[in-house]
Symmetry: C2
Subunit: 138 residues, 2 copies
Amino acid sequence: MKIYFAGSIRGGREDAKLYKKIINHISYHGEVLTEHVGNDGLTLQGENKNPDKFIYDRDIAWLSLADVVIAEVSTPSLGVGYELGVAEALKKPILCLYRQEGKKKLSAMINGNKNFLCQNYIDFSTAKSIINSFIICH
Amino acid sequence: MKIYFAGSIRGGREDAKLYKKIINHISYHGEVLTEHVGNDGLTLQGENKNPDKFIYDRDIAWLSLADVVIAEVSTPSLGVGYELGVAEALKKPILCLYRQEGKKKLSAMINGNKNFLCQNYIDFSTAKSIINSFIICH
């Protein structure tokens, strides 16, 4: 199984270590195409050595290849939002993992869309259980 | 002309006053379907009185109706990123306005996509000129 993991890069790297843990867990289920998203050496500037056009073309090719898409959507990100729009158009099964903290709310364009399975979680252990259930179904 | 303006709501309201000025300017060119995005009374929680499914269905209907899409993409936002993905699939002409500040960079998924006209600007006066040129072309 090929898995596209989406997480914020230029939108904010606050969750980089969590992305790494999620990617590590997902990799027990299959090939994670976007391992670099969990690279905690990657800063807010993203992949400086690759031009944006290269990154775009590569990520769209990976999205097309993916059997499922798993996104961590707690950090607002234009790139993740865009990838979710493309993944939906490609009819991929999509899981959105969200940590409810304080008064912040997940975008209505994500949470109100029946094509996205949006799941709140509090700790990593719950996130792992949600991922396992999602992957078993696809 | 019907114009869909996209700006961050739950991703962050730092630019709400700017959105209002942009919407006011765009309204000289046609009908802005998403005037509420510039409502500076709208907080990070967004439209609390409308369920997410209602907001999603309404915004997708407006996107379908729009002749052009203008997005202010300086604040990372899942909703705006998603709307750009949908607008691209619908083959709408799309302008992305971006303020380059400090070390932050626009998402490679937006900046590297040839279907988006991404334009940097520094002040509102420049943003207006960019908007005028874009609308004259469509």
